[in-house]
Amino acid sequence: MENLKIIKDLFTHTPDLIIRPIKKRFNTIYIVFLETVSSGDRVNSYILTPLTLPSKNKLSVKKALSGPNLKIINISQAEEYLCSGFTIILDKQNIYAVETKAELDRGIDDSKVEPAIYGPKDSLVENINKNIGLIKRRIKSSHLKTKNNLVGRYSKTNTSVIYIDNIAKKELVNEIINKLDSIDTDAITSAGELKQYLFNENKNVFPPMKLTERPDTIINALLEGKIVILVDNSPFAIILPAVLADFINPTVDDYTSALNTNYLKVLRMICFILTIITPAFYIATTNYNQETIPGLLLMNISTQRFGVPFPSIVEAIIMLFVCELLRESDVRFASNYGSAVSILGALILGESAVASGIVSPIMIIVIAITFISSLIFNEVEINGAVRAWRYIYLLFASFLGLYGLTLAFIMMLINLCSYKVYNLSYMFPVSPLDFSYLKETLLKVKRKKQDKRSKYLTDNVRKQA
């Protein structure tokens, strides 16, 4: 059997490759599958049982297993099919493939990264088909298009570009599909990995696309004219293009009334600014522009700093470093140990550091405000961007005071305004000003008044009557 030899050669040192010979009249057919990715039950019920039934003993394989599940393939495709959980049947020169994939993914679970109190609880899973199903369950229209693509020389990861064809701009869809086609790499294992191939601009720390695990967020993005990419084996979808306003305003805002939500939106915007500038502002005002602090507060700060051996800039950097360390250890460490790390951190930061005179209590407050403000963003990339700019601000403020802080602010503004993601300015909808998208993100208006889509994202602007 030449084909069997080829398969055996391909899968040497692969102990999970199972080959079952079945005597059929004057011939022997071979059932080949990988038991780690195939379901033994399915192999038995779909293939072994029908083929070994005495009544079907005289029938050919094609006739014995007749049905849509049976595919005729050639030997070059055998490797891919075997790895995908199919069972290969070698009958002389004919090769058949029957889908016997094992259920290796978990069930649909609650959203862990982007929880919502009143929103739907389901979230994406590692199975791309289930994920597409979660989207199609919400958009029952033939305009919802899915373009599949295999990415990765070895991983052959299935990716799906999802868009609504009469809303999304065709140029953007084509550009993204071309980008996916041009990816030539060994393996893509997650959405986070794939998104690094989709955008060449690497000079800016702010993320050009958003990762989400919420199907409702995906639906909102699709209906705005954005494009979603699903990656097999990844419970996150890529939404692109994404602008700064998208990260500050999650979809869960849609589930509460406008007045309450607007308060939270303003709070989030303040937090975005606070988390970037608080340490720099403290350094600038206490070391250069003391006149900006009320006298009594300044005296209290002075008293608290008495006996601290480091300049306040060094103190700030130490504290920021320790907090980053705590956050990273909390994320990386097994969750069972999480509370132990938190208690240890609280003890080090809260009491011991102050008692031993390494840092002043006011610095603890400053860093606590900085980190608590940053916790409202659940996107890791935006937190990374905020961290980078926090250090730039700190550097400028430590050399030039409030003047430096202003310079850093101008620098950030220039950086954000000149940053374009798929021809869309990152400061959109503020610059260029677009009220329809502004109502979706930075400011919430009554649902009835959200009647248009942004002209920058789609040509089909009318959303509701």
């Binding site: 250069y288 003391q290 005296m299 700093r305 601290v308 306040s312 050399f399 005071g401």
Partner: protein, 329 residues
């Protein structure tokens, strides 16, 4: 790469020029200036915050040909940077006010280390006054600042910006409160009035109340007519205008009688009116005789000489007395 090098060069070569650690600052709460024998004598009250949130202060003294030299001499044996932004009070002696007021104002306005939000007063015994308050475990600067802010009595509250306004405006003459010590207690019940930047006289408490009414400075005003009747204002508004070579001064006092009043309130109101007119007339005549104008009447008269003035007071009673109501009903 070039951009990053330029950026770091700019930061490293231009930065840190006014870097000061907040724990290295000495907070000056009061500054007293005297001018004797062609030298400035200064007294600095330095405020300190203890770890247990108690405040204390101590005094530094120095002498020099200029204010800066005197401050430098005072801080010779001191290991902190003097920080004047939190200054609460600037005390100037009569001698320094008469001879070196322009130098003092020039110094405090030119130096970025001073704010515009501190009180200024005349005090001839500053050391005694400051030490007196320090003995009571209080900060002199804060004590005086609160006294100016919270007292009910009719004193004037002059801050640097008010003083500069009067000093630079030819329509006004300067007026500054005087701090006195009586039986180990600080009292602010007088003010010095200037003519051409020289102290020419002092105003007593009653005159200061009238000064406040003319400038709408809204402090409580008590007018005693005789031993039994006291009229207390809750609000007053003075309008001044100049027509037909006559200066019209129209104060409208709204208030109430504090003590029991006979049934005919209208008669008493007339009495209050006449009494207040007389007091105001006497006050203005006094200012005219001194040729000093702290109220800024020159703004209205446009420097015309030999003008007439006319006072017409309106008294508005806020609450009628209970007896009046009972009889009328």
């Amino acid at each position: 790469m070039k951009k990053i090098i330029i950026l770091f060069a700019c930061l490293l070569l231009t930065g840190c020029y006014n870097y000061k650690e907040v724990s290295d600052l000495a907070f000056v709460s009061s500054l007293a200036l005297d001018y004797q024998d062609n030298n400035f004598n200064i007294i600095l009250e330095i405020e300190e915050n203890q770890k247990d949130n108690k405040f204390s202060s101590y005094i530094l003294e120095g002498t020099g040909k200029t204010i800066e030299a005197a401050i430098q001499n005072a801080s010779l044996s001191f290991n902190k940077d003097l920080y004047f932004i939190n200054l609460n009070i600037l005390l100037i002696s009569t001698e320094a006010a008469n001879k070196k007021l322009s130098n003092i104002l020039d110094y405090v306005t030119r130096d970025n280390n001073f704010s515009f939000d501190f009180n200024i007063a005349i005090c001839d015994k500053p050391k005694e006054a400051i030490e007196n308050i320090i003995k009571q475990e209080e900060i002199f600067g804060k004590y005086i600042s609160n006294l100016f802010k919270n007292t009910d009595s009719n004193i004037i509250n002059i801050k640097l910006d008010n003083l500069l306004n009067n000093y630079l405006n030819k329509d006004y003459d300067i007026i500054l409160p005087i701090i006195n010590i009586k039986e180990n207690t600080i009292i602010i019940d007088k003010a010095a009035i200037f003519k051409d930047n020289i102290i020419i006289d002092t105003l007593n408490k009653e005159s200061l109340a009238l000064y406040n009414i003319l400038l709408n400075n809204h402090r409580d005003y008590y007018l005693e007519i005789d031993n039994n009747i006291v009229f207390k204002t809750s609000y007053y508004q003075t309008t001044i205008c100049f027509k037909n070579n006559t200066l019209y001064i129209i104060p409208t006092l709204t208030g109430t009688f504090l003590e029991s009043v006979s049934l005919d309130e209208n008669k008493i109101i007339d009495e209050v009116n006449i009494n207040f007119n007389k007091k105001l007339e006497s006050f203005i005549n006094n200012l005219i005789s001194l040729q000093s104008d702290p109220i800024g009447l020159k703004r209205y008269t446009k420097n015309k000489k030999a003008i007439k003035y006319r006072i017409s007071t309106n008294i508005i009673l806020e609450n009628k007395s209970l007896i009046y109501k009972g009889v009328s009903s």
